[in-house]
């Protein structure tokens, strides 16, 4: 069970980014990062982060909408930290290092982009209500 708010954040962000439980070192590094270089949050940021943590199934939508809007966002800043930490874990190296893909992978990418567009639109609507 998560023992600190940062651990909970790390677990939620890690699950979202990896579709799997993040390893203990990633969680520990995220907690250290948040203690060493805290992310400044406005009240709006805090509301969004609280909602995203309580409804982690919506995280992909909110993340997509915030990324598209290009406005500064504490949630995205925190997720950038988690992404950087995951990228420097040997266990996840293959998720970030380029891999040889079959020609059909482009079609899969197309579907994924359609999904991303859908999530973005849904996230935009969600943000109106948060």
């Amino acid at each position: 069970m998560s023992s600190s708010p940062f651990e909970k954040e790390a677990a939620v962000f890690g699950r979202y980014l990896l579709r799997d439980e993040p390893n203990a070192q990633s969680v520990q590094l995220y907690v250290s990062a948040m203690q060493i270089r805290p992310v400044n949050c406005t009240m709006r940021d805090e509301k969004i982060i609280r909602f995203a943590l309580q409804n982690s199934g919506c995280l992909a939508m909110i993340d997509g909408a915030l990324a598209f809007s290009k406005r500064p966002s504490a949630l995205r800043e925190k997720m950038l930290v988690m992404t950087a930490i995951l990228e420097t874990q040997p266990a996840y190296a293959n998720l970030f290092l380029p891999q040889q893909r079959a020609a059909g992978y482009r079609i899969l990418m197309g579907f994924r982009l359609c999904g991303a567009a859908f999530r973005l639109l849904a996230g935009k609507m969600l943000l109106v209500f948060i």
Binding site: R37, I85, A93
Partner: protein, 536 residues
């Protein structure tokens, strides 16, 4: 009171070159320098290549991100954001001791051992005759100085369409490093389309780099570990500190770090140099017969303005406008990359509109891997998970095109000192930098031409990123060359007009700033200043 023959201020590329020339002539030289050092991260970085580190090393986050996660950017794109933990010592304490304010200009300055040269991109370009004349540099003397500097540092390059813009007629050039597969694709496509591209003023080729591909003295050839941004193992990349390290083995050279030179005063045929000890913040004084200033253009401006007691005097400023554009070569996406690569510039694309080498823009093309993907992900307008999957697929085909534009005096670009009681030096440098409409329009038009040229080469420009004025880290022109003795200018000999024994060996005198990497020219000029000083 000890009277030194020469004091050289700064250990960057220009300070190192000027000091080497003086020391090799037998003169006694004291170098005063900020002297901040890295070392911790370099010492813990394994000798493996980048993919092996990524797959095997549990502690890689320490040297890839930093123990304080200092390499993870926060907020907007800013100058210095791209520095890896091992290179961040270059800018350590600079904010505190080299106080600077501006709404429009965000420079990078260094108090590091080896100065900004510790993170230099290694590009070596010889200025053309026209560029030298516009900059106010002596053509014939610079040609021989280029060769001397090239022999000292070691340059690799290739005899191709870029040669006229890079190493030109220099001799002893080592072969260029192996190409990244995507760069190879662009290079071969250029061979097929070069007639049309050259007609439009574009010339593509391998850059000349201060990067060895063959052994030289005690330095090893490039090992293709793709770790150039993280360590200097083997010393294949020339860094200014390598030269300063060598000079410290000589009896007629003394190095003193933790010293910020703040001002000078001429008295009785010698120079009194005032400084601040960076550790104790106490004032210290040194004396010399000749002073050579090479702490970087902005620091030189501070020192000169304080010494002339003219804080409010406005000095002009030149800085190459710089933007970068990620480009995509679709045919290279979805491929794995070879383990053995180099992260340094792969290709250079020059735009010489009228074919006279007077007004040349330069784009450097980099592949992207060792700077980690997360930096790119934050720029993608998708959620991190979707962006990660997309970029993992696209990354082998991504080429970052960084475009430098030439800069002439004009527009509203100047700097001056202001009092600041909270600053350790009691002042700050304020810079105003605005391009006028003509300049901005020219840059935009030129970048459109670049995008079009890249399309012809099979690379699609994705997004133009403007990291802000000052991000080119090429600064010059604050004390333009003048042989009439005008105040706040430099005599062609390198002497600061209005002084007898103060010489300036950095780019402060350049009246024009070509877009080509200027470091080789800075070093050649620094050598010439030292050489002329010896003849005096």
């Amino acid at each position: 009171m000890e009277l030194h023959d020469f004091i050289v201020v700064g250990s960057g590329c220009t300070g190192a070159m000027a000091a080497q020339t003086l020391v090799e002539s037998g003169a006694r030289v004291l170098m005063l320098d900020g002297g901040k050092r890295g070392g911790v991260y370099q010492s813990i970085t394994p000798s493996k290549n980048f993919p092996a580190i990524r797959r095997e090393e549990q502690d890689q986050h320490r040297y890839l991100l930093g123990d304080k996660f200092e390499s993870i950017p926060a907020g907007k794109v800013s100058t210095g954001e791209q520095l890896t933990p091992a290179r961040r010592f270059m800018i350590e304490a600079a904010d505190h001791f080299l106080r600077h304010r501006s709404d429009t200009f965000f420079p990078m300055e260094s108090l590091g051992y080896g100065g900004l040269g510790a993170g230099w991109g290694l590009g070596c370009c010889v200025f053309s005759e026209n560029e030298l004349k516009k900059a106010g540099l002596p053509v014939a003397e610079m040609q021989s100085a280029y060769q001397l500097v090239s022999d000292r540092i070691g340059i690799s390059g290739s005899s191709d369409d870029a040669q006229a813009f890079t190493f030109a007629h220099l001799e002893g050039i080592q072969p260029a490093p192996r190409l990244h597969p995507t760069a190879e694709k662009i290079y071969s496509r250029y061979a097929a389309k070069k007639t049309a591209l050259k007609k439009n003023g574009f010339h593509l080729g391998r850059p000349a780099l201060a990067l060895l591909t063959q052994e030289k003295d005690h330095r090893k050839p490039l090992d293709y570990r793709d770790m150039e941004f993280y360590d200097d193992k083997g010393l294949s990349a020339w860094r200014a500190w390598i030269t300063v390290d060598e000079l410290q083995k000589k009896n007629n050279f003394m190095y003193r770090g933790s010293t910020l030179v703040t001002a000078f005063h001429e008295e009785n045929g010698s120079v009194r140099v005032e400084s601040l000890n960076l550790d104790t913040q106490e004032k210290e004084t040194f004396h010399c017969r000749k002073l050579v200033l090479s702490p970087g253009v902005l620091s030189t401006a501070r020192i000169v303005l304080r010494s002339m007691d003219e804080n409010n005097h406005r000095l002009p400023l030149l800085c190459n406008p710089y933007n970068y554009t990620p480009c995509l070569v679709l045919s290279e996406t979805g491929k794995s990359l070879p383990d053995a690569l180099t992260g340094m510039a792969q290709l250079s694309l020059f735009h010489d509109a009228d074919g006279t080498q007077t007004d040349v823009a330069m784009a450097s093309l980099y592949n992207y891997r060792s700077l980690l993907m997360f930096r790119l992900l934050k720029e993608v307008p998708l959620g991190f998970r979707d962006a990660r999957m997309l970029m993992n697929y696209l990354l082998p085909g991504i080429v970052i095109m960084g475009i430098h534009h030439p800069e002439s005096a004009g527009g509203e670009k100047f700097l001056h000192l202001e009092a600041d009681s909270s600053s350790p030096t009691g002042d700050l440098l304020r810079t105003v930098y605005k391009l006028n409409e003509t300049e901005s329009a020219k840059i935009t038009a030129r970048e459109k031409l670049y995008a079009k040229a890249m399309r012809k080469l099979g690379a699609w420009a994705l997004k133009r990123v403007s990291p802000g004025h000052g991000s080119s880290i090429h600064y010059a022109g604050t004390l333009p060359f003048d042989d009439n003795g005008k105040p706040f200018s430099i005599h062609p000999s390198g002497r600061l007009n209005g002084t007898e024994n103060v010489f300036i060996a950095d780019g402060s005198g350049f009246r024009f700033l070509p877009a080509k990497g200027l470091t080789l020219s800075l070093m050649a000029n620094a050598h010439l200043v030292a050489e002329k000083l010896l003849k005096k």
